[in-house]
């Protein structure tokens, strides 16, 4: 059955052999670079459009016209916006992400350690959440319509409907303040033992998992159930294929595209979208850094963070698209 559809799919586009996967990746990477450039222009323009400039933000409530003028001159804010952008871009092309306008530190230094922190938090959350979400989504699809399916559905939606800051605060109140099992802050020192690491990450990872679990689990279930209703799977049912095998062998490969995309979307949230978790647990990650940088209109820092988030997102969707392609060879012509 599966072979038949594959053959059928390939037939129409035989003319001009499908480009090899490698070529496709190269093309996507090239497009991604252009996209990064576009995003950097938009981010720059957006930051410029925001009322208030970095000088005002640094001096804050205490800004006097003279102080503002002095600081603007010191920061070269008198130059036209496009020139400042080109300066930044030129530096970036030479491997120099610039210096923070606010504290003069190099952007690479400021971003470096926080990036490691962010990636670590994202990795832990991924390792915990993705397999669990896929398992729940797949089993719910296998036993769709059963009591298990219903309970899972209710619980899944319930988890995502709790505001993150509520869950995080509640978890801290219970596990850190009342029981004192876990720390309220996740300041991981270098050289921490594995047990300390686990304790420090338990609450942030739990909070983030709750936020992204539902999208992956529910989209997995939905994509599978949708595929199960298609004609060729119905044929398999008629042939007497057992439900588990039906889902895993026949439905899953065809549902992988949407599933991979849902996972990619969820994971892309784990770098830039975790401000609340970083704030509540005082976790020094990139999301909070970006929010700070936007607040102070610290353009080089905003750009660096935006570029990192954008790159992470593009990588994730590239992987998702590749997974979809590999799972469904009919699509390789695209």
């Amino acid at each position: 059955m599966a072979e038949a559809t594959t053959a059928g799919g390939a037939r129409r586009h035989r003319i001009g052999a499908p480009p090899p996967l490698a070529a496709l990746i190269v093309r996507r990477v090239a497009v991604s670079l252009l996209l990064l450039l576009a995003v950097s222009v938009l981010v720059f323009a957006g930051t410029e459009m925001l009322p208030g400039d970095v000088a005002q933000m640094i001096l804050g409530q205490g800004a006097t016209p003279q102080a503002l003028a002095g600081l603007r001159a010191a920061l070269h804010l008198g130059e036209p916006a496009w020139l400042r952008y080109l300066h930044w871009l030129w530096g970036l092309l030479h491997g120099n992400a610039g210096h923070s306008l606010v504290n003069g530190m190099s952007v690479a230094t400021l971003v470096g350690r926080r990036l490691v922190n962010s990636l670590r938090l994202a990795l832990f959350t991924t390792v915990v959440t993705v397999p669990l979400a896929l398992l729940v989504g797949i089993t719910a699809a296998i036993w769709r319509g059963t009591a298990y399916d219903r309970v899972v559905n209710i619980l899944t939606v319930a988890t995502v409907s709790v505001p993150e800051f509520l869950f995080a605060t509640l978890a801290v109140l219970i596990f850190a303040v009342r029981l004192r099992w876990l720390p309220a802050l996740s300041l991981v020192m270098r050289g921490a033992s594995f047990a300390e690491l686990l304790r420090a990450y338990a609450l942030p990872v739990a909070t983030l998992s709750l936020a992204i679990f539902a999208q992956m689990a529910r989209m997995t279930r939905a994509a599978l159930v949708n595929t199960l209703a298609s004609s060729y799977v119905e044929m398999a049912v008629l042939k007497g294929v057992r439900p588990v095998r039906l889902v895993l062998r026949h439905a899953l490969p065809n549902a992988l595209g949407p599933v991979a995309n849902a996972v990619a979307l969820s994971l892309s949230f784990l770098l830039g979208g975790v401000v609340i978790v970083e704030t509540v647990f005082s976790y020094p990650g990139l999301a909070k850094l970006m929010v700070d940088a936007v607040s102070t209109r610290d353009m080089p820092l905003v750009q660096a963070c935006a570029m990192i988030f954008c790159t992470a997102y593009l990588l994730l969707v590239l992987v998702a698209d590749l997974v979809a392609l590999l799972a469904n060879p009919r699509l390789r012509h695209r």
Partner: protein, 563 residues
């Protein structure tokens, strides 16, 4: 630890006798001296200090030190008859502000987190004690005869963290850089008074002011006026003379300060190490304290005090420093600037309700003028403006605005203002007046709305002296004249009060200025807000210094841990 009410009583008492003690100001005739008692080469009780009336705490301290009892005391003494400080231990403290903006550059320090770090790594020429006396710190004496020409003698034998000696060149550099426009110092308006700053030998500095100002010692005690090393460009190392040295400083993440073994106040600091970082989320900061992750949580909300009090082993420190959130009405704006409208808004302030609902009692009722009751120049004889719906209605009608609608801008950036706005809205509704609230982002509030929107809120941090406050916010030419209040009589009084050496006359001048603001400025000050810190009771020696939270930001060298 006594409750906040008790603390406030303690605070009030010294404030009331601070006036007679004259805070240096009244002493110019004899040559004002702030002698440093620790140094033996000074005659034990130089005449000016002996002038101080009665047995005030400071003169007692002076005598004790002159008598050779120089011990662990230092400049800011722990609370009356407190047990002896213990040495050693580490402290973890969370402030409420933290971002990549965090800086160790005194000229750019702009929030509680920065100020607290400045006092860890640097010293000023003078320093405030708990009664707001500006005592000598790096200075040995600060003297003047005419309030214009000042001679500052420096302590000898002090070294910076990198071993280089502290001299007059460092003082000239540190103070002069605030005047340079390129430094973009936040205290430039204040520093501009220091017309000439020049070294007279390695341990003496002469300062000439642009006009007489008897409060120079207080100006030098401002956190931004701390002394850095001559020629410093990179401030991230925090090279100062202060009680602690920088072990780690990561803006927006944390700082770790370790004891300076060569600190010139013998016996201090008590702590081996202080870790300081900001937790911007209010609930998270309190929870971190209650879970034992931190020892002090600065700037907690009034609501959180309930949680602190319900837990064992924690206490709240209440500092009535005079912070206020004010309703601003541009007096020269159409509609909003109508004097009757302004007056109506002042009569519509439900001050008790704001104090009780928004600040849960951690505030004192204000009277539409900016000098707080804890200030020596506060004029208690000025009649309190009450909530008066009838008068408000009368004035609105007179302004022809009853039945119309106005737009009021509020933001969480101005502490409590969204809630104060809701209360005003609710009160105004009772007389059929519709106020539409516009809640705007905290991000950018100070540059986009404050001083720009004609009907909005501001929040003013406590300033070290009443004169600084009035100069910055009410003088006709003030850069931050919130309500566009322009009054020649007021301006004249303000200038004259700086040079006035007679305390009674000066108090009278301040009284007149308060009345002028209360009646004519477009400012409604319903309450003065207390600063609240929560702390674990293992922290000792932690008391209020009413220039701000965290002991006027100077907790690090004054507290110790026990248990």
């Amino acid at each position: 630890m006594p409750g906040w009410a008790g603390l406030r009583r303690k605070l009030r008492r010294p404030a009331s006798y601070r006036d007679n003690r004259g805070r240096l100001a009244a002493k110019q005739q004899t040559g004002l001296t702030m002698s440093d008692d620790i140094l033996p080469n000074l005659p034990g009780g130089t005449a000016p200090r002996m002038d101080l009336p009665g047995t005030s705490r400071r003169s007692l301290l002076g005598m004790a030190m002159a008598g050779g009892l120089v011990g662990a005391g230092g400049l800011v003494l722990p609370a009356d008859a407190a047990p002896a400080p213990k040495r050693g231990g580490k402290l973890t403290v969370a402030g409420y502000a933290s971002s990549t903006k965090d800086t160790l550059d005194p000229a750019h320090a702009s929030n509680s987190t920065d100020y607290s770090r400045l006092f860890m790594f640097y010293n000023g020429l003078t320093v405030f004690d708990r009664h707001l006396n500006a005592l000598p710190d790096l200075a040995q004496s600060v003297e003047t005869k005419d309030a214009t020409n000042w001679v500052i003698k420096l302590r000898k034998g002090i070294a910076f963290h990198d071993g280089s000696p502290f001299t007059s060149a460092d003082v000239v550099f540190s103070l002069s850089r605030h005047k340079d426009a390129a430094t973009s110092s936040v205290v430039r308006p204040i520093a501009m008074q220091l017309q000439e700053i020049k070294a007279a030998g390695p341990h003496e500095v002469h300062i000439t002011l642009s006009g007489p100002n008897s409060e120079l010692p207080s100006l030098l005690a401002i956190y931004q006026m701390v002394i850095v090393k001559d020629g410093t460009k990179d401030f991230s190392k925090g090279i100062g003379t202060g009680p602690f040295m920088v072990k780690e400083f990561n803006p927006g993440v944390r700082s770790i300060a370790v004891r300076n073994p060569h600190y010139f106040h013998h016996g201090k600091p008590y702590l081996d190490e202080v870790t300081f970082f900001g937790i911007t989320d209010n609930a998270a900061r309190v929870n971190a304290l209650l879970s034992g992750d931190i020892d002090i949580a600065s700037g907690i909300t009034p609501l959180a005090t309930r949680q602190i009090k319900a837990a064992k082993g924690f206490a709240v420190l209440n500092t009535a420093a005079g912070n206020y959130t004010d309703l601003i009405m541009h007096v020269d704006a159409p509609t909003i600037g109508n004097p009757d409208f302004v007056l109506a808004m002042k009569y519509l302030q439900d001050r008790e309700r704001i104090r009780d609902s928004v600040f849960l009692g951690y505030a004192t009722v204000g009277n539409d003028q900016p000098i707080a009751p804890t200030n020596p120049y506060y004029d208690a004889s000025l009649p309190q403006r009450p909530l008066d719906l009838e008068k408000a209605k009368f004035h609105l009608k007179k302004a022809g605005m009853l039945g119309s609608k106005v737009r009021l801008v509020s933001s969480v950036a101005a502490t409590g203002s969204p809630d104060m706005a809701v209360i005003l809205q609710d009160t105004a509704r009772k007389i059929g007046f519709d106020i539409q609230i516009d809640r705007v982002p905290a991000n950018g509030y100070w540059s986009n709305y404050w001083l720009k929107a004609p009907f909005t809120y501001g929040n003013i941090n406590p300033r070290p002296t009443a004169n600084i406050l009035l100069t910055l916010f009410f003088q006709s030419t003030a850069p931050w004249n919130e309500s566009h209040f322009k009054n020649p009589t007021f301006d004249k009084l303000l200038i004259a009060s700086r040079a006035e050496t007679d305390l009674a006359k000066r108090k009278q001048m301040y009284g007149e200025m308060q009345k002028l603001i209360r009646d004519d400025a477009g400012i409604g000050i319903p309450v003065f807000i207390s600063d609240l810190d929560a702390y674990s009771t293992r922290v000792k020696g932690f008391h209020a210094i009413p220039t701000g939270d965290l002991m006027g930001f100077n907790f690090a060298q004054n507290v110790w841990v026990d248990g």
